[in-house]
Amino acid sequence: MAQKEYDFKCLNCGREYRALYDIKNVTERTCPQCRSNSVRRMPEKKGAAKT
């Protein structure tokens, strides 16, 4: 479905990464580094240019 790239941050180990995600049809997230599920989807920065 509507997958887009988002920033994620693991609140357990601090690992940050970008990944495709569908915010309507959410799926399970797991930190690639520490396996925690406390993975926060960072708010999109409005207007800021994305690289």
């Binding site: 609140l11 357990n12 049809n25 959410v26 399970e28 925690s36 599920n37 406390s38 926060r40």
Partner: protein, 601 residues
């Protein structure tokens, strides 16, 4: 119904609505007399799965002579074309005209009060144990292949011959635990239960068919624990079968005679031995069904770490699934032999009969209802409900939704998502949970980890840690809800206001959610909460989320250990600041609500 698969399941105990896909068979089983004319004329030959590929069958075939129903089936994938111009030979010869190339899959709806899951197991494929040469050497076979070769109804009519030269081998070796009890990443760590005795049986069959044959079994431990098992094992030893304690490290092939040469450390004598054998049988383990996900998902069953279905309770409810009205039997639950399968099946049938005979049952009074005067007709609840149990009229109609009590499963996601607090979840009301939060944080709140756990998975995972006596710090204070989807934003905010250093929300993995997808709402809500904390300048990492299944006692204990340190890292100033900010925030929310209510009146 054979050749059929369960496509969808809805409803609840006593009232399951099941759709079954009856796959096209292309032969009418009621008409077919199994005369075999069709197969005789069919020009296509493919390996016969039933005979483990030792012989071939036609594209139209009977799985095996005693098959039930006793009827042919057309394997469309291998048929030359369901087009009389392409072939059509079988339809021509069929006297009863029971072959229909246009046969279609059929969807059948049934109502069922109870469901027994007996989907069985698969056998382990030993290819990855390359040192045994299963794919490289002709005369290395698996125990399933052994069955066909020794069977009078098999491809060799019971003559146990070796594939390379079709001669009857005089010496046969068995390697045990192939794919079982392995800790090195290949195969599975568990014991497959049946293979020891299966090999004992195989050696006895060999001794019986070919007196004087030399059989050698290479093993780690021979496990002969069941009734009559030790007798068989002893008989096998008396017949002269040699049992060598030690698993071969390497198998090679003698180029000339295609014999197999095994190098093994005999751990009883401590000596390295070389054995040359004419044939080798790999005693393959049992694995969970590889196509079992569909059923698991449809019936919200979860599995233990080995991939077999988890029972409701290992001792007290071994054939009940956690989903009420669903029972499990046979190897889908764990590897077991025929006797144990039959025992468990009868137990499951008996358990199921209790409900069937009663004709009625009570469902827990955990359902939601709407307080119409608080409702602002937003209709969100109807979107949230995974069961479509909420009927919300059009917003403009300004009427509160209705909740179909029999359809509500009680996850409480609607109650948590309703911003007006207009939905009350029976037995898990806001007041009840708030009272628990307040009571827990009444004494030394700064020291504790407030944990929410869902009834089915995370709470059960905590119990699992307890049953296994896994030790973890005493920091946590747990509150049970039916689903993590019930954990309202205000519960979390209130906990922070009362001085909680950290809050953990835990629930089922998405695939295990007992309320279809109520857990989605947990995830969305957590994102909202993290953003909110961030905005209020409170560290978002003080709110944690973990998915812990009922079998993951290890993970539960690990999370508890890890979070103990995190709790300690929260400073007193931080907590005081949080309490102040949250008090303001709660007042703000309260005022907003009061205003909205005033406006409505």
């Amino acid at each position: 119904m054979t050749n059929s698969e369960v496509e969808s399941v809805s409803g609840f105990v006593g009232n399951f609505n099941v759709t079954i896909r009856k796959k096209a068979r292309y032969v009418d089983p009621d008409e077919c007399t199994a005369c075999a004319e069709c197969a005789n004329i069919c020009p296509v030959a493919v390996p016969d799965e039933y005979q483990q590929g030792f012989s071939s069958r036609k594209a139209i075939y009977m799985p095996f002579p005693q098959a039930v129903p006793s009827a042919y089936i057309l394997d469309m994938e291998n048929c030359l074309g369901n087009n009389p111009i392409a072939c059509g030979k079988c339809a021509d010869v069929c006297e009863k005209k029971c072959i229909n190339y246009d046969d279609q899959d059929e969807l059948i709806n049934i109502e069922a009060g109870v469901i027994i899951v007996a989907t069985g197991m698969d056998v382990y494929d030993p290819t990855e144990y390359d040192e045994y040469g299963y794919t490289r050497f002709d005369n290395v076979i698996t125990s399933m292949e052994f069955e066909r070769l020794i069977c009078a109804g098999g491809p060799t009519e019971g003559h146990f011959i070796r594939p390379s030269d079709r001669k009857i081998p005089k010496s046969i070796g068995f390697i045990q635990c192939v794919g079982s009890r392995s800790r090195n990443g290949r195969g599975n760590p568990y014991c497959s239960n049946i293979c020891c005795m299966n090999t004992v049986k195989d050696t006895l069959l060999l001794c019986d068919h070919y007196p004087g044959v030399e059989a050698r079994v290479f093993y780690m431990d021979m496990r002969a624990f069941g009734k009559g098992f030790e007798d068989l094992y002893m008989r096998s030893r008396e017949e002269g079968v040699k049992y060598v304690r030690g698993i071969p490290g390497d198998v090679s092939e003698n180029d000339e005679n295609k014999n197999l040469v095994l190098t093994v450390e005999n751990t009883t004598t401590g000596r390295r031995e070389i054995h040359e054998l004419e044939m080798l049988v790999l005693s393959q383990g049992v694995i969970p069904r590889q196509d079992g996900d569909q059923i698991k998902r449809l019936l919200t069953l979860s599995t233990t770490s080995d991939g077999f279905i988890m029972e409701s309770h290992p001792k007290l409810k071994p054939v009940d699934a956690p989903t009420k009205g669903v029972y499990i039997a046979g190897c889908v639950e764990s590897p077991k032999d025929v006797k144990d399968s039959v025992t468990q099946a009868s137990a499951a049938a008996a358990r199921a009969s209790i409900l069937l005979n009663a004709g009625k049952t009570r469902v827990e009074a955990i359902t939601s209802h709407v307080e119409t005067d608080k409702c602002n007709y937003c209709g969100i609840c109807a979107d949230v409900c995974p069961y479509n149990a909420i009927l919300a009229p059009d917003r403009k109609a300004k009427r509160a939704p209705t909740i179909i009590q029999a359809a509500c499963a009680g996850c409480g996601a609607c109650a948590a998502e309703c911003a007006q607090d207009a939905i009350i979840m029976r037995h898990f009301r806001d007041e009840q949970i708030m009272a628990q939060i307040e009571a827990i944080l009444e004494v030394e709140p700064h020291k504790h980890l407030l944990t929410f756990a869902c009834n089915w998975c995370s709470y059960a995972g905590g119990d699992n840690a307890g049953t296994a006596r896994l030790q973890y710090p005493t920091t946590s204070r747990l509150i049970r809800t039916m689903c993590s989807g019930r954990v309202d934003e205000k519960f979390v905010l209130h906990a922070f206001r009362l001085g909680a250093p950290m809050v953990l929300v835990s629930g089922c993995h998405f695939a295990d959610c007992h309320y279809i997808n109520a857990v989605h709402w947990t995830q969305k809500r957590m994102d909202r909460l993290w953003n909110k904390l961030d905005k209020l300048k409170i560290r978002p990492d003080r709110l944690r989320l973990e998915w812990i299944s009922a079998a993951e006692g290890q993970k539960f204990a690990k999370v508890m250990r890890e979070l103990e340190n995190s709790v300690r890292s929260v400073t007193m100033e931080e907590m005081e600041y949080t309490m102040k900010i949250m008090a303001e925030e709660e007042n703000r929310i309260l005022e907003k609500k009061l205003k909205a209510a005033a406006k409505k009146v």
